[in-house]
């Protein structure tokens, strides 16, 4: 019988299976952060339970950490309490913590791969929906709630109903592989299949247009799988994936042997059946800009803001959503995307703040200056990314152009720390969600790629980055 990659990973992790019941699935990697874990550790204490496998568990502090000078005391007491709580929990339960001053601190989904902790063929969970990022290595990586964090800590397993499989076939070749990025590919996919198109499914991204991407670009795609409503997204690992995790701080000692096993097993069989399939031709994809309040409300950069009727077609609910979104975003239908002025630029997040993202943004910025009406900031995805970028002199390029250069963390992707939009401010953001108030109450978010965000910072409005000189 033929199997998809996801089915192979699932089948090799089943601990208990009974007819018409969820299966008990073993978890190979559990990543923990400060926001969704305190109640889970409390639950363990109340019931006198231990962490079953501290050797498969790591923690970091990313969501509410300040991105300014870390030698200063934290102003926000509640954030500080949450951070201290994680430090205490990790100490009490014997979990390795990459803490606030650790050179390996960073956004949890960035440091997993960067440290060689994320492995092909494994099951990976974290109390954060963007855990799907790590599916780029051919892992079943998915977000869980706090109750499941507690369950994983106590048992290293989870009860799951087997998701269905959804093939996303990306064909063709991007016409401009610098200006049209993997962010534009995934936004185009979500625009087509919708924010609940992948519900109950695990997406497998396949095709030449996916193989063509670097690992960091693939992570951007898998990261946003959750924005299409799917449980996870993954890509069959190849030489690029194996090379990426080689020689990292926590690369397994039997790496060579593991690669041999991965090569033999981690791909969907020829003729494997997917429950659903969708094909996209990347040759037709332009740089994308979101205009609304969910990640399916996206337009080509050469396009205009749609009317609610154009967006919703004959679906009353969608038409109403678009009207509400345009009202919130303070945008008029038929406005050209390139005429939308912006106040803020955020280059950061688990979606787009790895080294390649910063290198590409720096190419746009080099020798230019941020528009005087715009406040622009760069928040590297991890302290290691920051260090590597500084070694290449990227920080100097950004600072010379009047970008703020920050310490790493989730920052203004969700605005749990002081990095937030003021009410009414409009932001070009490389993050993943343009929900109402996501980056600050009353703030207006436009999702774009790092190169589109960088170009918008310079000009003060969106531009077609294919024409950048």
């Amino acid at each position: 019988m033929t199997e998809t990659l996801f089915e192979k990973i699932w089948n090799s992790h089943v601990v208990v299976e009974r007819e018409n019941e969820p299966s008990l699935i073993y978890i190979d990697r559990h990543l923990v952060h400060e926001v969704t874990s305190p109640q889970a550790f409390d639950g363990l204490r109340l019931n006198n339970r231990q962490v079953r496998r501290p050797d498969l568990t790591i923690a970091t502090i990313d969501h509410n950490v300040p991105t300014t000078d870390r030698s200063l005391p934290m102003i926000d007491e509640t954030s500080s309490t949450q951070i201290n709580t994680l430090e205490k929990n990790c100490k009490d339960f014997g979990i390795k913590l990459f803490g606030i001053n650790d050179p390996n601190q960073g956004i949890v989904h960035v440091i997993g791969p960067q440290l060689g902790i994320t492995l092909p063929g494994s099951t990976i969970v974290c109390g954060d929906s963007h855990t799907s990022t790590q599916g780029a290595f051919g892992a079943f990586a998915f977000g869980i709630g706090t109750s499941e964090v507690e369950h994983t800590l106590a048992t290293q397993t989870l009860w799951l109903e087997k998701p269905k499989t959804f093939e996303i076939l990306a064909t063709g070749k991007r016409r401009n592989s610098f200006a049209v990025t993997s962010k534009d590919i995934i936004l185009s996919i979500i625009k087509e299949i919708g924010t609940d198109g992948g519900a109950g499914h695990v997406l497998e991204y396949r095709g030449d247009a996916i193989s063509d991407l670097s690992m960091e670009q693939r992570m951007t795609i898998c990261n946003m799988s959750i924005e299409a409503g799917s449980r996870a997204g993954l890509i069959a690992p190849d030489e690029k994936a194996f090379d990426y995790i080689n020689n990292r701080e926590y690369t397994p000692k039997n790496y060579e042997q593991l690669v041999d096993t991965w090569k033999d097993n981690l791909m969907s069989d020829t003729n494997a059946k997917f429950d659903k399939s969708f094909t996209i031709d990347v040759e037709k994809i332009e740089p994308q800009v979101s205009w609304g309040t969910n990640p399916a409300m996206v337009s080509d950069v050469t396009g205009t803001i749609p009317t609610p009727e154009e967006y919703g077609q004959s679906n009353e609910i969608q038409i109403a959503s678009a009207k509400k979104a345009l009202d919130y975003m303070n945008l008029e239908p038929e406005t050209p995307i390139v005429e939308i002025p912006i106040d803020r630029v955020f280059i950061g997040s688990c979606t787009n703040a790895r080294l390649e993202d910063l290198k590409d943004a720096a190419k746009i910025v080099k020798g230019k200056t941020v528009n005087p009406d715009v406040n622009a900031m760069i928040v590297p995805g991890s302290q290691m990314v920051k260090y590597e970028a500084e070694k290449l002199g990227l920080d100097k390029i950004f600072k010379d152009a009047n970008f703020e250069w920050r310490e790493s963390g989730c920052s203004m992707c969700l605005g749990m720390n002081p990095d937030i939009l003021k009410p009414g401010e409009r932001c070009a953001s490389t993050s993943n969600r343009n929900f109402e108030g996501r980056q600050g109450s009353g703030g207006r978010t436009h999702l774009v790629s790092p190169v589109m965000a960088a170009a918008a910072a310079i000009t003060g409005h969106f531009v077609d980055v294919r024409e950048w000189s």
Binding site: Q39, D42, Q82, S129, T146, A154, N294, I317, S321
Partner: protein, 198 residues
């Protein structure tokens, strides 16, 4: 000590009609309220940016500020409810506010799963039935055991996974149940080549 959830049986109340699609968990509980380290006390922050203006005053036109619905335990909403962030705080806030049942044509996967962990019943119904409930102004009774919603003169049946139903009815703790499988977990660990991080 076994920490068990309250068992779930019947809920009787009027419906809060909340006819919105793609309601994300950032709306249900905005991020500034995720910094607590407890599971309780989130109800006052539910839908904060929709309920209150920038000065923290209640918005009169928002349905949850309408006193007619203040004792309602049932939220009826539209497709893809609970999408976005995995934050379980969204369910804690809805429950703390007083909602024990949420009815929608579809839920986001993680939110749906989080509901069961906290004794909240998510019910999936087709859009015609949702539209009927959105219009229905009298009390309804929801019986999990018989899987029926009783309106004044008719019933609406609903489906639910039998395994989840039993756990909810009995208020079973998942971890207790899993620890009964400990031998199997140990066998899996011995038989598989699990790669330690360190």
């Amino acid at each position: 000590m076994e920490l068990k959830l309250e068992s779930f049986s019947k809920v009787t109340s009027i419906i809060t009609p909340f006819d919105k699609a793609n309601v994300d968990t950032d709306q249900i509980i905005p991020k500034q309220f995720l910094k607590l380290i407890t599971k309780t006390g989130y109800g006052k922050f539910l839908f904060y940016d929709w309920r209150f203006d920038h000065d923290g005053k209640p918005k009169n036109d928002f349905i949850l500020n309408n006193t007619l619905y203040e004792d309602s335990k049932i939220l009826v909403t539209n497709e893809n409810f609970g999408c976005g962030s995995s934050r379980e705080h969204a369910v804690w806030a809805l429950k703390d506010f007083g909602f024990n049942v949420i009815i929608s044509p579809s839920f986001a996967d993680i939110f749906y799963s989080n509901c069961f962990k906290n004794g909240v019943l998510p019910i999936i119904l087709d859009i015609e039935k949702i539209n009927k409930l959105l219009q229905f102004e009298d009390e309804v009774e929801i019986d999990l055991n018989s899987q029926k919603i009783s309106l004044s003169d008719e019933f609406i049946d609903f489906d639910i996974d039998s395994h989840r139903k039993i756990r909810l009815l009995k208020g079973l703790d998942d971890i207790d149940l899993t620890l009964k499988e400990d031998e199997k977990i140990e066998k899996f660990e011995n038989d598989s080549s699990i790669v330690s991080i360190f």
